[in-house]
Symmetry: D2
Subunit: 396 residues, 4 copies
């Protein structure tokens, strides 16, 4: 396949690619902690139309991305009607919805884990209303990101109690979804810190552990985000693999981030090409069928045109990496190394995947292994990784 770049002009997104964007992503006005907005985003219906034009499959939203906090019922209905019309015109869907539990000052110390029962109750109200909105727009997946569920001051919140409160809220809301016939699948999104000093349940793994303690674990999975896991210097590729293997990859947030710093939410593909390649390969090889959601935002330097270059780039990078994954799977030299490393063992394979019996334990203990000989088998990983470098950089 070396050198055959004939199809390279063709990285055009299709609906079947299931690329989705948050309304808040292409609508980001460019503020940051050291400066205010620099762009006036186009309206949500305009975003829908533009994203459809670029080849996206859907848009996702927090309640307040569409309906302002405190809007009256008629205002809300009018907004939704106009938005639904844009969806209908463009053919875009809303596969995922979520709740903004972080912007209004009422949530400054968290929502579900606030010490204040009034805040906790208000948060549940808001989520129920937001679930109604999501269901109305056809969303199948409901995401929870506990953006302010944490502390800067350890003494301010008991983490054991906070965990119980978080669980009470999710158990309740899952039942609400069932009682209304919404039948959402819920996806929990972790983040280690920012805007709080430390957020509870800070990693994909922590969420998977927490799900096991819920009343209806079957309804809950995770929404891993590249930036969030990478902030803690963890391998996003491995986190997604753990979730996939456990049947818990219900949604995914793709973007870019450098480790060990503030939440950057860069364009998908902007950072760590190799990590992104293995991530895309995993999603493609595993048959993950959910949306590929871009939870990123254009740079503060971007003008309106560059905002759409940003959106285009997220999808294009994914498709380029998808093609690389196909090349990897078809590369004879790479595959030969892989086969060598994973050569089947007629005797041991069945024994190692069998359930325990005293007999097979005995059989295993009775075998004789030469540890030094096993240690001496070649593991040509430098060579393999260099082949990946060459393949990704287009020189094989």
């Amino acid at each position: 396949m070396t050198g055959d770049l004939s199809t390279m002009a063709d990285y055009i997104p299709q609906k079947t690619d299931k690329f989705t964007f948050g309304l808040w992503t292409v609508g980001n006005p460019g503020a940051d902690p050291f400066g205010g907005p620099v762009r006036v985003p186009v309206s949500p219906p305009e975003r829908v139309r533009k994203l459809a034009e670029l080849g996206a499959y859907g848009v996702n939203l927090h309640d307040n991305d569409l309906v302002p906090f405190g809007a009256s019922a008629p205002e809300r209905d009018a907004i939704i009607k106009e938005f639904q019309a844009a969806l209908d015109d463009s053919g875009l869907v809303v596969p995922m919805a979520t709740t903004n539990l972080f912007t209004h000052p009422v949530f400054k110390d968290g929502a579900f884990t606030s010490n204040d029962a009034g805040v906790r109750a208000f948060a549940r109200q808001k989520v129920m209303a937001s679930m109604d909105l999501g269901a109305e727009l056809g969303a199948k997946t409901y995401v929870f990101w506990g953006g302010r569920e944490g502390v800067e001051v350890e003494a301010s919140k008991d983490p054991v109690t906070a965990t119980k409160r978080f669980r009470d809220a999710l158990d309740f809301l899952a039942e609400y979804s069932l009682s209304q016939g919404y039948n959402f699948q819920f996806a929990l999104e972790a983040k280690p810190n920012e805007p709080r000093g430390d957020l509870f349940l800070p990693t994909v793994g922590a969420m998977l552990g927490f799900i096991a303690t819920l009343s209806r674990p079957d309804l809950f999975g995770v929404n891993p985000e590249f930036a969030h896991e990478t902030m803690a210097g963890l391998s996003f590729y491995h986190a997604v693999a753990q979730a996939l293997e456990a049947g818990k990859l219900f949604h995914i947030d793709l973007n870019g981030q450098k480790p060990g710093r503030f939440d950057q939410d860069l364009r998908f593909g902007q950072e760590d090409y190799k990590q992104n390649f293995f991530l895309v390969k995993l999603l493609e090889d595993s048959g993950y069928a959910g949306p590929k959601h871009f939870d990123a935002h254009p740079l503060r330097t971007s003008d309106p045109d560059d905002v759409w270059e940003f959106a285009r780039g997220c999808m294009r990078s994914y498709l380029i990496l998808k093609e690389k994954a196909a090349r990897f799977n078809a590369d004879p030299e790479i595959q030969a190394i892989w086969q060598q490393l994973n050569a089947p063992d007629q005797t041991l394979d069945p024994l190692l995947s069998a359930k325990f019996t005293p007999e097979n334990a005995q059989a295993l203990r009775g075998m004789s292994f030469d540890a030094d000989a096993l240690a001496a088998k070649p593991l040509p990983y430098e060579k393999l990784d260099q082949l990946v470098f060459d393949l990704l950089l287009g020189v094989r």
Copy 2:
């Protein structure tokens, strides 16, 4: 209590404090990646005697901390006999055992997740033998730390397959424990990286998520380690709280570490006094009854005397922080703020902890909240954190 420091001379460890040390901790010879050993440790029986003298409750071990790799059966038995005698003399117990699956070159690409079936089989053999040893010494808890279960080269190991192989091994070994009547409780220990580029199941949370997928999740809990969670910049205090709340804190590794760097395994208390304080307070307030295990090592600069100062310091720091926790719980000003923050709400508390019914959902939705008024309630966290500073520094 301000100024009442009359009991301060009394930080003397007692058996009831359940302080334990790894044989490998006070036996660490001081090598690092840039230099070889600097100390000749005393023999394991001598370590036992010295630790007993200092007030420890027990010692923990990897198989090869006591019995060298490849020792003959008679050698093994002689070593164990001498070691057991030292335990008997000193009154120390061995509450926890584990397997060295990382030193010998055979494990250079992992044990349970190696691509090589021979390595995987050999690892299981070694663990079974090590479990026999642990049981013989009276251990109740068996720890798994997958020290080389990971990669530097993503292409070298499929993380989905690796997870399945990890599970197969643990499921098998749990049954082995039952079949032999050992009835170990298993504690899984996570680490994000080092010695591998990225280790699988890198955090306490990831282990909790993984446990939920095992055949016998009830037999498995976690062994959180301060240094490992801190390497990823995560709150160890929160990780332990999640494990505790889930009933999964089966063991704990206490030491010291700065975030975002190599594994330091410093003396307990050496880094982040405040984090350590809240950790000790959590363990004490929760009634955690397991051993407090120090998995640390003396500095490379330490001479033999300083090794024992190190051991003494780990326990002393814990006891000082334990006293601080009692003072925190008895401090009227701190407690008054806590009560104010957590004032019970007769109406909302029952509703929020109740199971979902359409009726209480309706009740909740029908309530009216003034978000701005809720947002305006004072949260005196700067004041509270300063009181913690004052208390910890002994000026209140």
Copy 3:
């Protein structure tokens, strides 16, 4: 001194402590990337009065903390007059001034390093006007923090050219200061990232290196900030020591921060008590005579009262640590270890501090050392660090 806590009630700031606050610190309205303002700060003159009441020595400011961007000359003059009156009433001084080169969208890609000559020229204009303001208010030190001098997209700015542009601006502005008779000493403030992906000259060290390339290095020093150096996981204590030793500690920004995450700007003392202790000890022992400037902000959860608890806490923590430093210097056991470690050597000390001559090189080469014997000298660092723990926690 153990147990002698008689003076502990007396951590009352005095003018001689030279504690200063940025106008923007106690004036921070509590916005962050995920939520808007939560507080309406009192007016600058009110901040001055309140800080004076709490014992502060001075306030520092960016031009736009006081005079809004684009204010007319009469507006500016009226504002300054009212502010100066508050200073006069309260006895506070303005020892340091700086320029806001980051809020307005014109600076979205930097100021001095922007590719756009118009932006670079406008930035210089703004700094000259801001220097006029600073001089008018009596400031002696002028700080430069290049808050947006960096990139997210490496291709967008040549770092070699950017460095030259940065130098051109500083050389020019230093001459402007001289020509106007302002005679500022300039203090350069580094930060590794945020709001930009990577900022140029990201550490105290990088600034020291850059200063050596300026036309008038004598006029320039550094303004190290605890949070900024800590974001990169570097030892702030060591960074300040390097600057001090080089005669370049012209100013200092004190606050709190956890490593490897977003810029937290927490209350001084909030994080890493031990690091803060050694920092305070260094400042006190070295006779640093400049202001101790708090560049922190109250938590978003703080209400107006808690804002002042925040300010009070910054100063109180410093004074508590200062007392600890005095105790450290007076502690016989600690000092005995220090003396042992630093025992003078009559023969070697003069030789090692002498200038090179062929003769002393020859003398040195002719000496015979027993490396193993040197290696065997005790270094009781575990013991020493435990004494520090005990001293800081008030139990010795």
Copy 4:
């Protein structure tokens, strides 16, 4: 140039590429903190022959890479003779030498900054002898890496005194070089931590700042290392640019590393392709004429064959990235954006690069800028970064 991959087979290193390897790199036996050696490296002369065969230009060494610690003079001479013969046969040179001041226990608390005058004196002796060796082998550059010049226990070493001691040693040794006619250029290598908790002068910037305080700053430059700067999450590309711009890039250590973790010393190119690309582009565009030194080591999993794949890969990756840099410079679309961003300004450019005069300050202040208009100029950085992605991945 899109698709023109005709020269792709040709990434064959030439002497003119000036690729060098440390003797210790391909000679690394594969030990790490959790396991011992896994390989028996070939002898230094064999390494020389093999590296020559692969196209390297030179090898670099610490004294003890070649001559064991404590070797007698005849042993030393015999070893050097054999090594020199291998150099002569193969045509390889030794452009750089350095001293091992970290392996022997005598250096466990540092060398130049040890509190022990005996250790400091012994270290100087060792360096003088090692400089003699380096000169004998023809080295032109002498590197100082203060591998243990730091602390874990802040109380153990005064950082101000440590800095003075470091300076005294370097000033002395620089004069020794001159007095012997060696005329080395000295390159200081920074590292933030490991094996010590915190190393003094932890970054390239800190070294640049320190150099400015030496007696002969002209003789000193830096030896930036990719892994070391990246451990602290800093941009290596920017650090090298600062050094280059200051005329201080005397040497460079190329390898691979993920941020915020232990020192990995991976194959050059293994991590962060984009960062490596801009680094190579900078070195090539700037006309840097020094050696490109690989200070990396093969993975612990590598067998002897894979060791040489590692070495081959370091050089190949550099050459691939060098070709990409040429393509970047020739890419019309990329260059058009660059021209647009850096359009010359006839009025402002001269003014901004001119020295200060009251007249040009006046001219500048008198100009009128429309900040909003300047802010509105397009900065198509998302587009530009996507072009870089496409170019690096070989799809343009």
